[in-house]
Every structure is written in C-alpha cells, then in structure tokens.
Amino acid sequence: MNQLSKDKRLQTAKIGSFLTLIKKKKKATVGAVIVAAFLLTAIIVAITNALGIQVTPYGPLQQNTGPVLSPPSFSHIFGTDLVGRDVFSRIIAATPNDVSVGVSVVAAAFLLGILIGSIAAFKGGLFDELLMRFTDVIFALPALVIAMVIAVALGPGVLNMMIALMIIWWPPYARLARGEALKIFHQNYIEAARISGMRAWKIIVTHVVQNIIGTMLVYATLDIGTVILMYAGLSYLGLSVRPPYPDWGEMVSSFKDYIITAPWLPLAPGFIIAANVVGFCLLGDGVRDALEEG
Amino acid sequence: MKMTLLDIDDLTIRYSTGHDTITAVDSVSLEVGENEFLGVVGESGCGKSTLGLSIIGLLPPNSQVQGSMIYKETNLAKLDQNAMKRYRGTEIAMIFQEPLTSLNPVYRVEDQIAEAVVVRKIRKESGEKVTGEIMQKVYKTKGIHIPSRVPSLRRRISQELRDEVTHWLNLVRIADPEQVLERYPFELSGGMRQRVMIAMALSQEPALLIADEPTTALDVTTQAQVLKLMREPMDKVNTSIILVTHDLAVASQVADRVVVMYAGQIAEDAEVHDFFSRPMHPYAKALLNCIPNGTKNDSTLSAIPGSVPDMMNPHHGCQFAPRCPHVMDKCNMTQPGLIADQKNHKVACFLYDNPASDLI
C-alpha cells in the first residue's frame, strides 16, 4: 500500500509539473488555451444537451433562422446554410463529436497499448515475439483505409467511429510500453520474483506508466490532433453523423459545391477543425520543447 | 640551424559564453621549427587543444584571438575563414581525437583520401578555388553512380588517384591497402580509422601537421604503433608535427621538443632529453612523478594535490601557486615570465628568476 500511495503522489506531481511546463513556453500556453477552449465547449455542449438546455444562439437543427445562404453577419457569425440554419450554432453543437473521439481514442490506445506492451514484456519468449509481430502488422495497415472499412461495417455514428479507430490506434503505445517494461523487468526481476506473481505484474505496470508518462503525454497530445483529423475525414466521407445532425467533416463535404457561391459554408467548419488540431500541436510541441530544455 | 616555421607570440584566446569569458590560452609564446616534432603536454582544460585549433583556424565562433601566429610571414591570427582555407589542405593539416566519428560514414576510404589529394593538387598546382566542378575534373570519374560491391559498376576515381591513395596508405603501414580502400569507415577498427586519418592528413603534404590527442581513444598497443608511424614519415616528408597530448610518456616517445602547459600558460619549454633529465618547473616535475613506474616498488600512485584552477576567475600571479610545494609570496602577486637558459630550456617560474639566466 505504501508503494501505491507513493506512486499516486508521483502522479499528481507529474500533473503539477505538466502545468509548469505549459507556462514555460509561449507556444505551449497558446496551445493550452486553444485546447481548453475546445474542451470546455465540448463539455458544456454535451451537458446542456443532456439537460435539454440550448446554449447556442440558435438551435442547430432550427431552420429559417435567417435568410437562406446569407453571408457572415453580426447575427450569424458564420452565415446560414441552404435551409437557413445558423452555421455557427451547428459548429458549436458538433464540437463534442470530434473532441470526444480524439480524447477517447487516444486514451483507449494508451491503456490498451500499455496493457499489451506490458504483457508482452512480462511473458517474453515466443509469446512476446508473436505479439510484437502482430503489433507491427496492425501498425503497417493504412489507417484511414482500414478504419473506413470497419466504419462501413459497423454503421454510422460517433461511437462506431471511436471503436473503428481504437482498434488500430494502439500499436505505437504498445511498443513504447514494452520497451519501458523490458528495462524495468530486467532491473526489478529478482525483486519482482520474490513477491507473488500477481503483485509483480502490478508493480511492472505502475513502473511502466511512471517512466513513460513524460514522453507519452507529449506524444498523446499530438496524437489527439491526428485522431481528430482522421475522424474529420471519416465524417467527410459520410460515415459518422448523418444529416440533419451537424458534424464538422460532414458539413464541409455537403457544402463543398458552394465553395464559390457561399464559401463560408464549407470553409468555416474546415477552419475550425484546423484550429482545433493547431491547438493540440502547439501544446504538444511546446511541452516537448520545454522538457528538452530541462 | 633549423628555420622557424611557426612563431607564436603572446597569443591569447578567450571564449565568451553569455556573460562569462573564459581565457583558454593566456599569453602563449612558442616556436615550431621546420621538420620538428613538438609535444604540447598538459591536463584537460589547460588550453592545448584550443591552441591547436587556433593554428588551423577551427575555433568556435564565440572565440576571440589576440596576439600573433606568424607562419611563413603571414599572421594566421588575423586571417578570416576564407583566407585560412587556403592554408588548410596544403600547408597546415590537423587530425583529431575521435577517430570513430571523424570520418564521413557514407563515403569509402578511397574517396575521402582522394578528396584530400585533389584539394592539395588544386591548391598547390593551380591555386584555384576548390569548387565541386573543379574537383570533378581532377577526379576524372567515369561511369554511373551505382553503389555496389562490384567495382566496375561503381563510379571510380581515376587509376592515377588510386595509386597515390594506396601510396599514402602504405606509408601508414596498412596491410592490404586495396581492401581498405573499398571499405566504409564503420567497417574499420578505431586504430585503422586513425591510420586512415593520418594518411589523409599526410597526403596533403602539409608543412605543419597538428595532431590533437590522436592516440587517446586507442588501446596501448595501437597507440604505440600509431605514434611510431607518425614519427617515421618525418624522414621522408618535410613536415613539422605538433602533438597535443595529456600524456607525457607519449610525448617522450616521439617528440623533439616538449612544451608543458598549465591553465592556459606555458610552464616549461625544452628539448626532450634536456627536459626529462632536468625538469625545472614544479608542475612538470610533479607530472613526471605521476607516471607509474611499472615496477613493484611503485606501490602508491602519486597525484598532484589540489585541482585545476577555475578558468573563468583566474587569480593573480602564477596559476600553479596554490598547488606548488615551493610557493613563495612573490608567486601570488605577479605572473612569472618565460626565462631561457643556455640550452634554450625555457621555464616560467620564480625559482629560476636568477640574474645570471638569459631573458628571451
């Protein structure tokens, strides 16, 4: 029990130092602000949806809130679409989709990766070898293509997209975890063997997490951006949320033909996707730079 | 009487790092004669490497050089990189401490040495700028560039160049030079790589070769071999060598003259036999004591008490004073100058500040 409470303190210390790192570099601070804005919006929208309250200026499904296809104005920041819905409201309303997919896929990949990597290192031998080959093959699969095929099979919806991506996203985390676990394993093998089998296992995993967390957090932050881009792609292909419900990628796709006549329609959601990803990139890069400067 | 090749006079080199300034070399004066083998000896941080780098002009950008280094009537200290380039590859060459990383990993040995030869030819024979195009012409390469073990498929250097490169490899006693020519650096051992470096430097037929700790990274046997083949060619080529080392024993094996440096300054400067038979500076004597005897009687290794001074905050007077067994009050107040005796055995120590000695 002593060991676990010590680990908890280390974990909270790491989070605290994470915040210090963010403050250290301008890049990271800007990124953190952007990410926080998107996260907050996502959470607020999700909660208010569940409670049935409307936070956006207009309802995302509400038609004829203004003249059809009108350009950006004070009352409609991103204009209106061809049935008069407020584009800004729809973009806000769609925030939880991308953000939740981004965060949950990376979190799942992280956990799954650590699990698989640790098991592989722990068991060793042929099991390890096979598991790593399996990991390499999954990693070599073209991500978008496989995710797309899985998505088609599972059917539309945000949850299905999450599952499709989670299935293929874990390999880099597994490799990282296994590498770390092997180091620990060699060091603490004797000690671990003295304690019963189950406890050794727990100790290895905790140690792995502790040592990895620095590198992993940076990688994971950048990875969330990548997932969001991939999800936006799947959404564009019509595999996620179906109209009339709003989703960023889907909105770009259905309005791409209006690029010349009503450019705000496809460009606004596209820009928001990019802005979201930029936030995660700045944050990840900034923290990495801060860590390297030591 | 030997001619003086390089005359260093009151050379001072400082590095500035942010707000601090380190004086790496402090008012150093020494001479290198033609065909002379000079050993510059001292501990890490005494400025010997900096001295070597400054002669060939490869100091880092944050350094300032004051004083003069007269080489064939030109003050090298005043030259910029462009001007300095003309001396490298023809007059002055340098080999470095880390043979494992000093050769380009993607080119074969023959290409790298041939390149050195080509530079020499261009500079010495035509005096033109060494551009890529001119180099191509001198290479006279033919054939398309397919990286392959099959020599006839690869772009080869001309046979004339190959013969010359082989000659230089033979000079450093590499057995089977035809094989070594084809090799990449990573296929060779540390000792072999260092020989290649030496061959490469000698192939430029420099008047002055600076060797910065060339044997430090090698094992003792290889070290002895490398030292020997640095000494040997001196009969055949008219080259002076400055060997920078922390190891007095190494210097004793091959040098004509020994210069001992401490904290950026010259402590003693003498002909090798004279130095070892009567060392004068307390630091030099202490260094000689440190060399293990190798016999059973030498049960305790002696070390010099104290530590090397902080180069950022040098104190007044002789830098060695805090550790000197013969320290006097005078030593902490003023810097002793370099004084020579009849045998041109120079020392910077108040112990010898005798009106009977000659001053430089």
């Binding site: 095929v149 564009y236 791409k256 | 490869l58 050769l103 380009n104 500079r123 296929e187």
Partner: protein
C-alpha cells in the same frame, strides 16, 4: 575479396521486407473479407449492393460463382483465388462494370496526383528545411514553422478548398475540376499514366492541360505533408553540421559549399528517405479527399462515390488496391534506404 558478390545483407533485408509486405496485404484482404460479411446484413447484398433485391437472377448467379452458400473457409479460398485472378466483383454504382475495369480507368489518374504531389512535397520540404536550418531562430525560421504548422493541421479537403477558391476562382489561374480538357485527345497508353504518356509521346497540348489540372490537387497534398520533412531536415542538418567529420572536411581545406552539400546534406538526407515512406502513405490516403474536392476522376473519387452509393464490392476492392499501392510504395522506399545508407547495406 571476391568481386561481384553482392552482400548477403541486402538480399536478406529485401526478403524480410517483402515477406512482411505479403503478410500485411494478406491481413488487409482477410479484414475486408471478414467485414464483407457484416455489410448490409446479407452477404449477397454485400456483393451486389443495395440493388440485390431487384435482381434475383443475379443473386443466384453470384451465389454460385462466389460459393456464397458454402462454409466460410471455402468462401475465403474462392475470394483469394478470385482476387489473384483480378476478379473484384462487379460495381453497381458503375452499371455493373467489373470493378477491376473501373479501377484500371481511375488508378492512373490517382497515381498522377500522388507522383506530382510527392515531388512537390519533398522538394518544398527539403528546400524549406535547408533554409530554416541556415536561418535558425530568426523570424524566417519562425515563419516557416508557422507555415507548415498550418499545413499539417489542415484536413486535406480544407486545404484543397482553400487552393480551389484562391487559384480557380479569385485568380482564375488553374482549372477547378477534372483531369484534362475533354476536347483533347488522350495519348496512347505506354506506361499507362496519361501525364507521362503524353510527355513521352510529345503530345504537348494534352500534357499542358493534364499538368494544369493536376497542379492544384497535388499542391493541396504537398502543402499538407511537407511540414514534417522540413522539420526533420532542419534538425538533421543542425545535428550533422556539428559532427566531427564535418570538422575534418573543413580541416581538409574544402570550400564551405562542398562541405555543406557533399558532406553535410548527403548525411542529413538519410533520415528523410526513411520519412518519405510515411509521406507517401499520407499522400495516397489524403488523395481520397482531394480528388473529391476537385472532381478528379481517380480511384479516390471512385471510393467516395462508392461509399455514397453503398457499392460494397467497390469499397472493398479500392481498400485493397490502396493497401497494395501503399505497401509497394513503402517497399520501394525501404530498398532505396538500403541503397543510401551503407551501414544497412553492408553492416
């Protein structure tokens, strides 16, 4: 030393990569097969698409031909056999043409975009990498970083739309859709890629038109992907120029140009070769979106319309073809890497 004996290392290296590629492709095929059983509820529907109910005789024909009533192992066997014969089924969204035919018509156009996109991406990436290394920590460096950050954060379809509106509408420099001017005659098929065929043939009118049409989509791909190349080359160059062998090169008396290009860049580019397989994969996947925005008749556009029309044979087949192209591309780059780095080749 035996002349003419090729190093054992490079042969075993190629074999290893090749066998791994085969495993990957086999996995893709298995995945598509397994998933085809979960599409549209009914396996026949998967193969015929949503028109299954309208053509019962076709359904029977299909069941016979593809052994759709046999156990799954048998089906899988015939599936593989079919694929190896080039039988990818028939495409309902294209009037039941054989999928392979449609792929044959569309793949060359995709390869055009990928080729030009790759060239622009690597070229731009390397060029800006050298500049940002040379001018590091200056506003130029910062500007380049901001530029590529915007690039790789943009979804490819967004980048494509931006380029479209700027160059095809505001400036009216380049066409906004299609692969070439339909009034022009196609070149004869030599390699099979129209852009290159017209070049070889000297069919300049077609070549200019095809090039004009490929430029914007390729640029969209390039602008999204070049950033990682720039970033890697910058750090690689900075590291290389600090090495001991560069110091040796200078000590030899070489001109700074020669030191930089022959010794520095040659080494700094080695990790870029490795990176280019990732760039290639990224390009090939992103082309799906870019083709859609520019209505470019490539295999990506085929896939997008197939998704819309629920043309399952086409979806699965294009997935496999994408995987093949990606795996082949990576294999070529891996071999190139062995050529470029002597330690892999011989060590």
């Amino acid at each position: 030393m035996k002349e003419g004996r090729i190093s054992v290392n490079i042969v075993s290296f190629v074999l290893r990569r090749l066998s791994f590629s085969v495993v990957v492709l086999f996995s893709v095929v298995t995945i598509t097969f397994v998933l085809s059983h979960h599409l549209g509820g009914n396996i026949v529907a998967a193969w015929l698409g949503k028109t299954a109910s309208l053509h019962p005789e076709l359904a029977r024909l299909y069941t016979e031909k593809y052994h759709l009533d046999a156990p799954i192992w048998v089906q899988f066997y015939y599936y593989i056999v079919g694929l190896l014969h080039g039988d990818f089924g028939y495409s309902p969204s294209r009037g039941f043409l054989p999928v392979l035919t449609v792929i044959g018509e569309t793949l060359p156009f995709t390869l055009q975009i990928v080729l030009i996109g790759f060239i622009i991406s690597m070229g731009l990436g390397i060029f800006l990498g050298m500049i940002s290394a040379r001018y590091r920590n200056t506003p130029i460096d910062g500007g380049i970083q901001a530029f590529y950050l915007a690039g790789y954060s943009s979804p490819p379809f967004f980048m494509a739309l931006i380029l479209l509106i700027i160059f095809a509408d505001i400036f009216r420099l380049l066409p906004s859709g299609g692969a070439f001017d339909p009034n022009l005659a196609m070149p004869t098929s030599i390699i099979g890629i129209p852009l290159l065929d017209s070049l070889i043939e000297g069919n300049w009118a077609f070549f200019i038109s095809a090039l004009a049409h490929v430029l914007l989509p390729a640029a969209a791909l390039a602008l999204v992907t070049f950033g990682v190349v720039t970033r890697l080359l910058r750090s690689s160059l900075l590291e290389v120029m600090r090495t001991n062998y560069i110091r040796t090169a200078r000590a030899k008396g070489l001109d700074e140009d020669v030191v930089f290009y022959k010794h520095g860049l040659r080494n700094a580019l080695i990790p870029i070769v490795s990176l280019s397989s990732i760039i290639l994969t990224w390009l090939i996947t992103s082309t799906i979106f870019v083709e859609n925005v520019f209505a470019y008749p490539g295999i990506g556009q085929y896939l997008v319309t197939a998704l819309f029309d629920q043309d399952y044979p086409a979806i699965l087949a294009t997935a496999i073809v994408f995987a093949i192209v990606i795996v082949l591309g990576n294999l070529v780059v891996d071999i190139l890497y062995a050529v470029v780095d002597p330690q892999i080749r011989l060590g």
